[in-house]
């Protein structure tokens, strides 16, 4: 899996691609989000459009990152959910937790 970090104004977008699974994938997401927080970033978007596989640990890591960012006074939002990620979030009621966007422009403007 790969994570690229870019900024649009004061919003940091993490473009995640590949698999977010137990082990390497979940750790990479966690480390990237924590690195942003360490640098004082408060507005984070996880772009998941190129994530081709996620397991329950990956979903757990999204939740964990969300709570970590929220607890530090920031906001974490999700962009470009695949159909499968959307289904996994929906059946565990997590779509009620996350703010989800299909458009990067709308996601950036939402902060």
């Amino acid at each position: 899996m790969k994570i690229e970090n870019r900024t649009v104004g004061d919003v940091h977008i993490l473009d995640v691609s590949g698999k977010i699974m137990l082990g390497e994938g979940t750790m990479a997401v966690r480390n990237s989000v924590r690195e942003l927080l360490k640098n004082g970033t408060k507005k984070i978007i996880l772009n998941l459009g190129d994530v081709n596989y996620i397991d329950s640990s990956g979903i757990g890591e999204l939740v964990s990152s969300f709570t970590t960012v929220t607890n530090q006074g920031g906001q974490l939002k999700l962009l470009n959910l695949t159909k499968k990620i959307q289904e996994l979030l929906a059946i565990t009621k997590l779509l009620t937790v996350f703010q989800v966007y299909d458009s990067e422009q709308a996601a950036v403007a939402s902060f």
Binding site: L22, G23, D55, S56, S57, I59, G60, E61, V63, S64, F66, T67, K84, L88, I91, T92, K93, L94, T96, V97
Partner: protein, 142 residues
């Protein structure tokens, strides 16, 4: 309906490195049976979650303990059995991930997903010790 079952069995050590092997085998079985891509994906995820639990929570990553995975292929359904050598658990005691107090917990969704995507899921304590998770996916169900 009369069916002819074919059995595929594999036994792995309790290491997460084997998960990709099990995933590949599952994908081969579901492709062979003609499941559509989405259904095959959810079966693969269910098996991966089950084997992950068996390795991590059942056998506690003890390399001397095995996880046995069995696929029974029939024309109308796929039966999957995953056995570990752990100390077992009470499935009824697992917290419900949909309860408001559990919604933001980072773990505890794996079995919920397995139950969502498979048609039948049973948790059976084994007389020798350990647990068997028995799952069924019918051909043609979503």
């Amino acid at each position: 309906m009369k069916t002819t079952a074919n059995r595929i069995e594999v036994s792995i050590g309790s290491a997460l490195e084997y998960l990709d092997l099990v995933q590949t085998l599952t994908d081969c079985v579901t492709t062979f049976m003609g499941f559509d891509d989405d259904t095959a994906h959810w079966i693969g995820m269910s098996v991966r979650e089950t084997v992950t639990n068996a390795i991590q929570h059942g056998n506690k990553l003890d390399q001397t303990k095995k996880v046995e995975i069995r696929f029974d292929v029939a024309s109308d359904q796929l039966e999957i059995s995953v056995k570990d050598q752990g100390s077992g658990f009470q499935v009824d005691n697992l917290p419900n991930p949909l309860d408001p107090e559990n919604l933001l917990k980072p773990s505890g969704r794996g079995i919920f997903y397995i139950r969502s995507f498979m048609d039948e899921v049973e948790f059976r304590p084994l007389s020798r010790g350990g647990m068997e998770v028995h799952m069924v996916k019918k051909v043609g169900s979503n």
